[in-house]
């Protein structure tokens, strides 16, 4: 029986020539990731199983990004614990504040993940690296600890859904709208336990940043992973960022899929997910009642990359944030921060009345740097809009692309960029 991309990567890492959905395998890991929230729990487990050293000090990545720069004393203690562990274990890929970034933007940028890799991370958005043709998935802290100790993890081989991508995106549409459109269609459990495999001629019309955004939110459809075919763009990206060897896996002609979903990019419109689930989507032209907002956040592992700020800067150029709206710009990594500075985007943002923060996951998960009060509403380029996600239990988060977020900041309500007065 033919295998999907995911099944081939898993089989290869388990030393098997063939696997089928439901098989339980033990696989070798290329990278194990943790952050300041999940790693402390994993470190306690690691010590609890009497492990002495990590399986490979080059294949563990530790990133203080969630509540870092330290938001309070307790968070500082958690970061300290991870820092000490990284020191004791001589972890190569520990990234301190000043060189760190939001983990899923940082790791590909540092060249730590390439096509064909098998990566686990104690963070649900670890599925982001599928954009590069890797198998990557989120796990808990116990699995992270076992992975750090042994370099292995068990997996149940997933079935898959094929997304056949065709066409080209219209103006003000980007990867975020594609994935929100898909989640709106299949639901937050639409791909439960399955792989989402993205193939088709339309992939060539998606930038690597678009693909990162799409793969990042595969978990919001319940998927085990999201993965893209590898093309010239992928290879260019990998070569520009990494010296690691990579392997390109393609699905067999007769690979089995639970279903195939056709996605024509030209039919997708700017899309917003309303509270309190990513599946509650509306295209901007379906929003009939004005949704008045209090805050806008542009950043995160979903949409905190250079192209996201380039798009937002273009909208803010020569315009002002509406009176009373707090607009937070959070570049995902130090490198992106520097590029935004050099390209003049920060000047544009600050002149528009937005504020720029150091890289952090911060407000996305209601940590710090932009928490909402009761009754407040935020348009965010982040990935979740669950109850209380960004602060008070009675606050609301609306998920959107960076251009819609910027236009909303300017008009003080959820808005499509085409609604902005011409300059």
């Amino acid at each position: 029986m033919g295998m999907t991309m995911t099944q081939k990567i898993l089989a290869a890492h388990a030393g098997l020539s063939e696997v089928k959905p439901g098989d339980l395998i033990m696989a070798d890991l290329d990278l194990v990731l943790g952050n300041d929230i999940t790693a402390p729990v994993a470190i306690n487990v690691f010590k609890g199983i009497n492990a002495k050293t990590v399986f490979d000090k080059d294949k563990v990545a530790l990133v203080p990004d969630h509540f870092a720069p330290n938001k309070d004393i307790q968070a500082a203690e958690q970061c300290k614990m991870m820092r000490q562990f990284a020191g004791e274990q001589d972890i190569t890929n520990y990234f301190e504040v000043g060189e760190m970034g939001v983990e899923h933007a940082l790791l590909p940028e540092k060249g730590l993940v390439v096509a064909g890799d098998l990566v686990i991370g104690a963070d649900s958005h670890t599925c982001t690296y599928g954009a590069l043709g890797a198998f990557s998935t989120g796990v808990g802290s116990t699995d992270m600890a076992a992975g750090m100790a042994t370099g292995k993890a068990w997996f149940k081989i997933p079935a898959a859904i094929k997304f056949n991508i065709t066409g080209k995106m219209n103006q003000y549409v980007s990867g975020k709208d594609v994935i929100l459109h898909i989640i709106g269609m299949i639901g937050v459990d639409g791909a439960l336990y399955q792989s989402m495999e993205f193939v088709g001629e339309g992939i060539a019309n998606l930038t690597i940043d678009d693909r990162f955004t799409i793969a990042n939110m595969a978990i919001e459809a319940g998927a085990k992973n999201g993965i893209f075919i590898v093309d010239d763009q992928t290879i260019d990206y990998i070569k520009a960022h990494s010296s690691k060897e990579f392997t390109v896996y393609t699905a067999d002609e007769d690979a089995q899929y639970e279903r195939t979903i056709e996605i024509n990019l030209s039919t997708i419109k700017p899309t917003v997910a309303f509270p309190h689930l990513p599946e509650n989507t509306k295209t901007t032209d379906e929003i009939t009642e004005p949704v008045i907002i209090d805050q806008v956040v542009i950043g995160s592992c979903t949409n905190g990359r250079l192209s996201d700020f380039a798009k937002a800067a273009k909208i803010f150029e020569g315009r002002k944030v509406a009176k009373g709206i707090r607009t937070l710009i959070i570049p995902a990594t130090q490198k992106i921060y520097l590029q935004c500075m050099e390209l003049g985007y920060f000047k544009t943002f600050v002149e528009a009345g937005a504020t720029v923060s150091a890289p952090t996951c911060g407000p996305c998960l209601g940590g710090h740097m932009g928490i909402l009060a009761s009754g407040e509403r935020c348009v965010a380029t982040t990935n979740r809009n669950f109850v209380g996600r960004m602060g008070h239990v009675d606050s609301e988060v609306y998920l959107a692309n960076p251009e819609v977020a910027a236009a909303s900041a300017i008009l003080g309500r959820i808005a499509d960029p085409s609604e902005l007065p011409k300059l």
């Binding site: 199983i49 116990t142 209601g366």
Partner: protein, 162 residues
């Protein structure tokens, strides 16, 4: 192995942000986490929960973040078993790893109501609703999962083997 308790009932897509809000994740202390379990959808849960009580919910329980703090908070709060139509995959894995028994059973998820007295037999997967005098067949745990649960989680299970 059997557990018995009073039911706390929830709906679809109970996410890990409501099980344990991120604002409390600046600690990994189990007791501290348990104090805030379910706070954002059921503020009275932690006041009313008794050791051995059972949580029942519908589709996609535990969706969202990979935080192991979520099953830890539920287990430490005293819950002996979670029954749902189905579970989000990271939560499922985490629950087994930390020794929180979970069971997929659509019929039980549909018929059990808040406050019902329910007994669960992990060896057979049989769920008995004592209040309603009904039984529902859930999936029995495979042997390796039963061992992990009996040991109180993957770590204890590994340490027992060593």
């Amino acid at each position: 192995m059997k557990v018995k308790g009073k039911v706390f009932k929830y709906g679809n897509n109970v996410d890990t942000d409501v099980i344990i809000p991120a604002r409390y994740l600046n600690t990994s202390n189990h007791q501290e986490l348990a104090k805030h379990c379910m706070e954002d959808i059921d503020a009275d849960f932690i006041k009313n929960v008794q050791d051995g009580d059972i949580m029942v919910a519908s589709k996609n329980f535990g969706c969202g973040s990979s935080r192991e703090h979520a099953p830890i908070a539920i287990k430490t709060a005293g819950i002996s078993c979670v029954i749902a139509t189905d579970f989000a995959r990271i939560f499922y894995r985490n629950a087994i790893n930390i020794g929180l028994p979970i069971l997929e059973c659509p019929e039980a998820a549909a018929k059990i109501e808040a406050g019902d007295e329910v007994e669960v037999d992990f060896d057979t997967g049989l769920i008995t609703n004592i209040t309603k005098n009904e039984t529902y067949q859930g999936q029995a745990f495979p042997e390796f999962m039963q061992k992990i649960i009996a040991a109180g989680g993957l770590v204890n299970s590994i340490n027992k083997k060593l």
